[in-house]
Amino acid sequence: MRIRVHVTPRVGVLDPQGKAVGGGLRSLGFVEVGEVRVGRVIDVVVTGLSEEQALARGTEMAQRLLANEVVEDFDVHVTAG
């Protein structure tokens, strides 16, 4: 089972990387581009957990280490395999 944690800059926190990437996309002609936010994806393979347990453990992992909640938001997804 795989826990996938998406970590993104917290709404309201300046994201200079997202701003630069957005500018790049618009320079390439993607005129429809509005706000861009750059984050990271962390995949954690776990064993011996139910889907519900994996979601709970993944959330705890994100809160305690994978995200810094002062400046980052996260969401957790669980998939088989």
């Binding site: 800059p9 926190v13 300046l14 200079p16 990387q17 630069a20 280490l65 994978l66 810094n68 002062v70 400046v71």
Partner: protein
């Protein structure tokens, strides 16, 4: 008075701090490997700059798991003076010893230059002897200080902002803020004032050969505060 300089895997300013403590502040200094758990022999602790654990995940995020950090927390809770410089500041915020967090520099580039610093609170153990402004080089990619509005108001209200980026004349302006830090914050302390985190490197401007040597006042300040019983366990 003896300083302990912590070496994490990836620290690279530990020798600079050690040199300044020995030769400029003229106090004893000892290196503390990050697996050390006995701090009984030291009176002050330096968390130096560098790239602890290769900046994996977030700058300073992994160093908090080093065995020495539990002892540093106890040392700080007991009132012992602690300074985190650059990566050391990032470690202190990640470990929860100081509030807020560091974001990527607003301009996205790694910045390596001298920074003029206004001493925002000159009555702290680490700033008591500092003149109104000092000069200390910055060398960082993630130095944009951020805290939520309540935390920021508390830091300002309680005199916990130690240093702000300023220009040569000591004025804090938008142009003098190199990295986008909120309120131009370059360094803060905990509520008690014994734990200081700062992104600029005072140890890199502590001798006349390297500039105006004004960074030395940070170290001299804490020596005086310690010897006079104003800070310490």
């Amino acid at each position: 008075m003896r300083f302990g300089v912590v070496t994490f895997p990836g620290s690279n300013c530990d020798h600079d701090a050690y040199h300044v403590i020995k030769n400029v502040a003229q106090r004893e200094a000892t290196f503390l490997w990050h697996k050390e758990t006995d701090l009984s022999g030291v009176d002050a602790i330096v968390l130096p700059g560098g790239f602890s654990y290769g900046d994996s995940l977030r700058c300073g995020a992994i160093a908090r798991f080093s065995p020495i950090m539990d002892e540093v927390r106890k040392f700080a809770d007991a009132g012992g003076p602690v300074i985190g410089i650059c990566n050391g500041f990032q470690v202190l915020t990640e470990a929860g010893l100081l509030p807020g967090a560091m974001l990527r520099n607003q301009g996205l580039t790694f910045i390596c230059e001298d920074a003029y610093l206004q001493v925002a609170n000159g009555h702290l153990p680490w700033t008591g002897l500092c003149p109104e402004t000092i000069v200390a080089p910055i060398a960082h990619h993630d130095g944009c200080y951020y805290a939520d509005a309540d935390t920021l108001a508390r830091l300002e209200g309680e005199g916990q902002v130690a240093f702000r980026y300023c220009d040569r004349s000591g004025e804090v302006t938008e142009a003098s803020n190199p990295n986008g830090s909120l309120n131009s914050i370059a360094g803060i302390t905990n509520a008690r004032g014994n734990v200081l985190g700062m992104m600029p490197h005072p140890e890199r401007n502590a001798e006349a050969e390297l500039g105006d040597a004004s960074g030395a006042w940070v170290f001299r300040s804490v020596v005086k505060a310690f010897l006079e019983g104003e800070v310490g366990r």
